[in-house]
């Protein structure tokens, strides 16, 4: 009788799921190495850094009128493509996703201790990251050199007033009426010369006829509140050709510049992210060389270094998901 009781208890004991106690010492309670844990906690802290920047973006964006509309600002791509809103940045997101998959394959092959495959997949990741940085560099060059956006000047904005852009004839008439000075400048671009006329009032404000970078008049001269616009940067004049318009009340004004914070936030946050991509590329390259040299073959933790840099690279992709969301989608 007593024996049976003991055996039953024993069986119950064996069949019941054992809750293993990880905190009795002799092992990592999180079943992960120190290096991997510390990489996770570094990424957590970095997530808060980027979170802080994006929160600043949110607060400043909510606080002003006339914030530029993303699909108006970001509608160009290399090879002369324009009028394609968000397409180029979607391509950049695709490149980062591909590089995330290649680094995942590198980590998987590392677990299998497949040295040549690890090097191959790590180098593929470096190529993907390099392509992303190249695209970002093109984006910056386009915004800064062609469209004239800087850290403290933002020519992209959204109309708050209602009215109509003024044609050159109308401006001539108004200038005569108000006694403004007229200046005609001859500029040369793409091999042909053209003239730019502008007027200066008593306070020194300049009034231009509204034309875009190619010298064309806007699609429609009417202005409604909420319409996006870009103040054309006139390269030959080294100045912004602020378009003159007349409000519904008859006031003659020039296009105001957009919120200053836009340029600062965009370049700083994408720059910080780009810096993370760049440092990630440097580490990926170093670890690929180490793997090729056979450093990880002899190590007790094998290819765990590849896993750690894989975590960093996935984090870079993750941050881009939220930068993409905040700047381009919302």
């Amino acid at each position: 009788m007593a024996n049976e009781t003991v055996i039953e208890t024993q069986e119950q004991h064996d069949n019941a799921p054992q809750k293993e106690n990880l905190w009795n010492g002799g092992q990592s309670p999180f079943k992960a190495s120190y290096g991997k844990l510390m990489m996770w906690y570094f990424l957590l802290s970095d997530a808060f850094t980027f979170g802080g920047f994006l929160l600043a973006y949110g607060a400043l964006r909510f606080s002003v009128k006339g914030w530029p509309v993303p699909d108006f600002v970001f509608q160009t791509a290399p090879f002369g493509i324009s009028g394609a809103p968000l397409i180029f940045v979607t391509f950049m997101t695709f490149v980062l996703i591909v590089s995330s998959v290649t680094v995942l394959r590198a980590v998987q092959e590392g677990k299998r201790e497949n040295q040549s495959a690890v090097v191959k997949w790590l180098l593929a990741t470096v190529l993907g990251g390099g392509l992303f940085l190249g695209c970002q560099a093109w984006e910056w060059t386009n915004l800064i050199a062609t469209e004239g956006m800087t850290l403290y000047t933002n020519p992209f904005a959204t109309h708050i007033d209602e009215g109509k852009y003024l044609t050159l004839d109308e401006l001539n008439g108004i200038a005569k009426e108000k006694g403004w000075e007229k200046e005609v400048v001859s500029v040369e671009s793409h091999g042909k010369t053209s003239e730019i006329t502008y007027f200066t009032d008593a306070k020194g404000n300049k009034y231009f006829e509204k034309r875009d970078h190619h010298g064309d008049l806007p699609e429609k001269m009417e202005i409604k509140a909420g319409d996006s616009y870009l103040i054309t940067y006139q390269h030959d004049l080294h100045d912004y050709a602020v378009g003159a318009y007349q409000t519904a009340d008859g006031e003659v004004k020039t296009e105001p510049f957009g919120p200053q914070a836009f340029g600062a936030l965009f370049f700083f946050i994408t720059g910080f992210h780009g810096f993370h991509v760049f440092s990630g590329l440097a580490f990926l390259l170093i670890i690929a060389i180490q793997a090729a040299n056979g450093t990880y073959v002899a190590r007790k933790n094998g290819y765990e270094m590849v896993e750690k840099i894989g975590l960093y690279w996935h984090f870079v992709d993750l941050v881009w998901v939220f930068v993409f969301l905040a700047f381009y989608l919302l």
């Binding site: 990880l22 309670p29 999180f30 079943k31 992960a32 844990l37 996770w40 906690y41 957590l44 997530a47 808060f48 979170g51 929160l55 600043a56 949110g58 607060a59 400043l60 964006r61 909510f62 606080s63 002003v64 009128k65 509309v69 993303p70 699909d71 809103p85 968000l86 979607t90 997101t93 695709f94 996703i97 591909v98 995330s100 998959v101 995942l104 394959r105 998987q108 092959e109 299998r112 894989g310 975590l311 996935h314 984090f315 992709d317 993750l318 998901v321 939220f322 993409f324 969301l325 381009y328 989608l329 919302l330």
Partner: protein, 146 residues
């Protein structure tokens, strides 16, 4: 850490992950473009629908990358908690800072209004219940949602 996987299983994880992330990204961009009238002429979705949808899709991508690509999902539960729980702070942070931005926006209207007013030379500045130089009645109450 995890049980040994075959090469085919590994490739499957990578390929599935790629397609899921790609489809979700394209969905987000589609919502943004359709909602703003770029893909279908004249159609525009209300922001109140577009914004939660795009945020939800991005959060799903974040969950997928963190749990499956970074393997956080296969780690020990207490460790997952030490990484995920601090992120809950973002819930407070997002609400607080967007509210703050709205308050700044409303303050602008108040400042502009006051700029237009005539000043009484004998008038004294008094601090109202808000702790700022205005009456509690005049204090902006609206939080802006677009």
């Amino acid at each position: 850490m995890a049980h040994a996987t075959t090469r085919e299983e590994d490739i499957k994880v990578g390929r599935n992950g790629f397609f899921i992330l790609l489809i979700v990204t394209l969905a987000e961009v589609a919502v943004a473009l359709i909602g703003n009238g770029h893909l279908i002429e004249g159609l525009s979705l209300p922001k109140m629908i577009m914004i939660p949808v795009m945020i939800a899709l991005s959060l799903y991508k974040a969950y997928y990358i963190t749990s499956i690509f970074m393997h956080l999902g296969s780690e020990v539960k207490p460790f997952i908690a030490t990484v995920v729980l601090p992120m809950l702070l973002f819930i407070w942070a997002i609400i607080a800072f967007l509210w703050e931005g709205s308050a700044w926006f409303n303050n602008q209207e108040y400042v502009n209004k006051k700029n237009q007013e005539q000043v009484d030379p004998k008038g004294e500045a008094t601090e109202g219940a808000t702790g700022m130089l205005m009456n509690a009645n005049e204090a902006p109450k609206q939080v802006r949602f677009e």
